[in-house]
């Protein structure tokens, strides 16, 4: 085959060009640690890489939401502790007042102390931090518990005595998306609502702490079940004169009071359970995050050892080509003609 000088120089230059461009690409791969710099270099890995990034971003959002919920639960727990302390103290005092040897004056003193405890209870129930009320459900900017003109306690405008078990106030809570496949469904009325099993609710509703509704006694009288109104009625009873004072009635109210106090303890248990659930979810999300990051390195990262070895061998090839080239291009027959 006939070879001309132009062919040799042109082929030599194009091979040199491709060697040096490979060298450049490998150099950039080593310094950035990425196996591709443009999506077109490896389109399939690029698309997988983008999906992994989306999942990592979601994962970190869920973790943020969980830590917000945790701090909210911690606040609720410490307030519930306080409320528990109040109910226990009240319980002791009511017991001592039920002792029939107490005189009207002694009963009045206890009544005053119970009154103070009742006010403390109300302000604990209306606890807030940074303008967010803990126990109001989705009502976070107005006091959830208010006392009406008739002295009865209302929760978010609904009188507690009249509340029934089907009330929406009992299920109304704040919730966050922590990665349980947030979804919406249609409820019985045809409205588009959140599917509660796909979100995490982190607020405790007021009525579940205080109790709600009324208890009907054997003789037909109705006693409020919620702690505040109950305490109020006990105080009123204790302040009555010896003639009207009815120890039995106080006894019955005390029974209901003890039952309703258990609500506070139950709420604390619920908070504890929710908190450990969140710990469990955090662990899971952290593990998931690690796995995703590992996957991301596998898809988008370059193995540094492999890349450096490749780079060295390309460098060697480049130098060899340069050296050979000078020998290739010089001599011709004219050097040897006399």
């Amino acid at each position: 085959m006939r070879i001309t000088n132009k062919m040799m120089t042109r082929n030599y230059l194009s091979n040199l060009g491709s060697l040096s461009s490979n060298l450049n690409t490998l150099n950039t791969k080593v310094t950035t640690g990425r196996s591709f710099l443009k999506s077109s270099e490896d389109a399939a890995s690029a698309i997988r890489g983008y999906n992994i990034r989306t999942q990592l971003s979601k994962n970190s959002m869920y973790q943020e939401n969980i830590s917000y919920a945790q701090s909210s639960l911690t606040n609720a727990e410490s307030t519930l502790n306080q409320i528990n302390g109040i109910t226990q103290e009240a319980s002791v005092k009511i017991l001592s007042a039920m002792n029939s040897t107490k005189s009207l004056n002694e009963r009045n003193i206890i009544a005053t102390e119970l009154q103070a405890l009742r006010d403390e209870l109300l302000s604990s129930l209306n606890s807030s931090s940074s303008d967010v009320y803990y126990f109001g459900g989705t009502n976070i900017d107005k006091e959830p518990f208010t006392v009406g003109a008739d002295g009865k306690l209302s929760y978010n405008g609904a009188v507690l005595d009249a509340m029934t078990s089907g009330s929406e106030h009992l299920t109304d809570s704040r919730y966050l998306d922590i990665g349980l496949n947030l979804a919406f469904t249609t409820d019985a009325l045809g409205n588009d609502v959140v599917d509660k099993s796909t979100v995490f609710s982190y607020s405790i509703t007021g009525p579940s702490i205080t109790g709600y509704g009324e208890e009907t006694l054997a003789d037909g009288t109705k006693i409020p079940k919620n702690l505040y109104d109950l305490l109020g009625q006990i105080v009123t009873e204790l302040k009555k004169t010896d003639i009207e004072y009815n120890t039995e009635k106080v006894g019955k109210m005390y029974g209901v009071f003890k039952d309703s106090s258990l609500n506070v303890v139950n709420s604390m248990t619920v908070v504890g359970a929710k908190s450990s659930y969140l710990d469990f979810m955090t662990d899971r999300l952290e593990t998931q995050e690690l796995n995703l990051k590992e996957l991301q390195t596998a898809v988008e990262g370059a193995d540094p050892a492999e890349t450096i070895v490749e780079f060295s061998s390309q460098e060697l090839a480049y130098q060899a080509a340069l050296q050979m080239g000078t020998k290739l291009l010089q001599p011709s027959i004219f050097d040897y003609m006399a």
Binding site: N5, K6, M7, K38, S39, S40, N139
Partner: protein
């Protein structure tokens, strides 16, 4: 006996031929590095005395009368030339298209930088934070700022891709058409004229051939051309060949003549007057029947086709039913602009619907098209999407809840769910308004666009590499035949020099013989 002075003519011819051969070799050596130079050789014929009849034949044989320089010709293979030109046209088409696509990809590629997908993720994150405390107006402002970043990014993508397109339009009309195509055809036509004059007078204008071939090679990388040569008899013993060039579409077999001997046609690039104007090519012809006609469809190869695909290519949005608007269904810049428009309008419509919950008579739009409100409202595109004026004034314009209590955030959760769940993307395709073009989340849509473009770039890179490799091989084959090897010329130089020396020696021998006859024969006793 041979006439006395006839061998002198033989000697003279020998010396002249050797001298010519040396000169041609010297010319080859001098042009060893000239671009587009084809190596030349001397055509030598031996002169015989035996192909004419004489009035008085002697029945004896006469020896040959030396050598005749028939001409100086070039080593060239025309079939190889045509294969090379076809391949050059293919290679140029892919490399032009690839260049534009790579630039477009670098606008939306997020492998190394943060782009629209990152902005979508940030917007979702701000919505999640807002759902923690829906009454906080600070966080409402960060949500709005994040939304502003999303629409700003969409707008930036759109205008940057438009710039890539404008650059391609500029390259096509000013550089390729006005400078390269039009001047080259004019050049070829004038070379045709000069070559014809020289050929008629019997010469072989090798340098002009080289220039014309160089011009035709250049033209072949611009458009898909075909050369035809037709012989013309100009005299008793003389036939010259006339060259004409046409743009030839192999799939339909249609031809568009652009050069015929000394006449040539030029092209003008016309922009239509739409918002994203398409380019069409119009012919200005001085011969043939296509003056003023729209000849865009004839160009199916070369860098012109690459530019046309890049500029006019509208993919699935192209209306191929009407030929008059130059529809082009390649996935060019126009297609990618339209896919971004689809994303922007679906994003805006989805969130506007979510925000208007429950629906009211004056919808609570989060995103609108920039500019004054019109009836019917201007369709939202990637370029004109913006955060609505109402939202700009009041960060809490975003509807957090349908039912009303301040801490409820179920509408925000609806928006969060929308960002990660599958949406149906609708677009107005020609002949099929409101058709579904994609089902997936917003991030998946964008990843699909980047993925599609990456694959296209990868594919065209492979096409381009293959075409260039084949072109290099053909170029080597051409060089093998027409190129100059200094070693070969050196050997030729020695060979012809020896022939020259031998011819001179022969002349000396004749001279001495004549000298003997003239000066020393019949001089008896002197």
């Amino acid at each position: 006996m041979i006439p006395s002075f006839v061998p002198f003519q033989t000697a003279r011819r020998a010396i002249a031929a050797s001298m010519t051969a040396i000169t041609v070799t010297g010319n080859n050596i001098a042009n060893a590095n000239t671009e587009n130079y084809t190596r030349q050789k001397v055509d030598l014929n031996s002169i015989s005395s035996s192909d004419f009849t004489q009035q008085y034949t002697t029945g004896k044989e006469y020896p040959g009368q030396g050598v005749d320089v028939a001409g100086i010709s070039q080593y060239r293979d025309t079939f190889l030339d045509s294969r090379y030109r076809e391949q050059a046209s293919t290679a140029a088409r892919y490399s032009t298209f690839l260049g534009g696509l790579s630039e477009t990809l670098s606008v939306i590629d997020e492998a190394m930088t943060d782009g629209l997908m990152t902005q979508f993720a940030d917007f979702t994150r701000q919505l999640q934070t807002y759902s923690q405390s829906p009454t906080s107006s600070d966080i409402a402002m960060t949500v709005r700022t994040s939304a502003e970043s999303v629409v700003a990014m969409m707008s930036a993508y759109s205008s940057q891709i438009t710039k890539v397109r404008e650059q391609a339009v500029n390259d096509l009309s000013k550089v390729v058409i006005n400078k390269d195509f039009n001047t080259t055809v004019e050049n070829i036509a004038s070379l045709n004229k000069a070559i014809r004059e020289q050929e008629i007078s019997g010469e072989s204008p090798n340098e002009l051939y080289d220039q014309r071939n160089a011009a035709i090679d250049k033209l072949s990388s611009i458009a898909n051309i075909r050369i035809t040569t037709s012989p013309e008899k100009v005299g008793e013993n003389r036939t010259i060949s006339n060259l004409s060039i046409a743009v030839y579409d192999t799939s339909t077999g249609r031809e568009l003549p652009i050069v015929d001997r000394a006449s040539y046609n030029t092209l003008t690039a016309i922009q239509s007057s739409d918002t994203n104007p398409t380019i069409s090519l119009r012919m200005n012809s001085s011969f043939g029947s296509n003056d003023g006609a729209n000849v865009t469809e004839f160009f199916t190869g070369g860098s012109i086709k690459g530019y046309l695909d890049l500029i006019n290519g509208d993919g699935i949005y192209a209306d191929t039913s009407t030929a008059s608007t130059n529809p082009n269904d390649a996935n060019g810049t126009l297609y990618y602009l339209h896919t971004l428009d689809t994303l922007a309008s679906n994003f805006a419509n989805t969130f506007n619907k979510l925000n208007d919950n429950p629906p009211t008579t004056t919808p609570k739009d989060l995103f609108t098209a920039a500019g004054p409100a019109t009836i019917p409202p201007t369709p939202i595109t990637a370029k004109n999407i913006q955060v609505s004026d109402a939202w700009k004034k009041d960060a809490t314009y975003i509807t957090t809840t349908k039912t009303g209590t301040s801490g409820a955030a179920e509408n925000l959760h609806r928006m969060i769910e929308t960002m990660s769940e599958d949406s149906t993307f609708l677009a107005d395709l020609p002949g099929n308004p409101g058709s579904t073009v994609f089902k997936g989340s917003f991030n998946e849509y964008m990843a699909a666009v980047v993925g599609e473009l990456s694959l296209q770039v990868e594919l065209n890179e492979n096409f381009s590499d293959t075409a260039n490799t084949v072109l290099a091989t053909l170029s080597d084959s051409k060089e093998q035949i027409s190129g100059i090897s200094l070693d070969e010329e050196g050997v030729n130089l020695v060979v012809f020099q020896k022939a020259y020396q031998a011819a001179s020696r022969y002349f000396t021998v004749l001279d001495e013989a004549m000298d003997t006859v003239i000066n020393r024969m019949g001089r008896v006793g002197l």
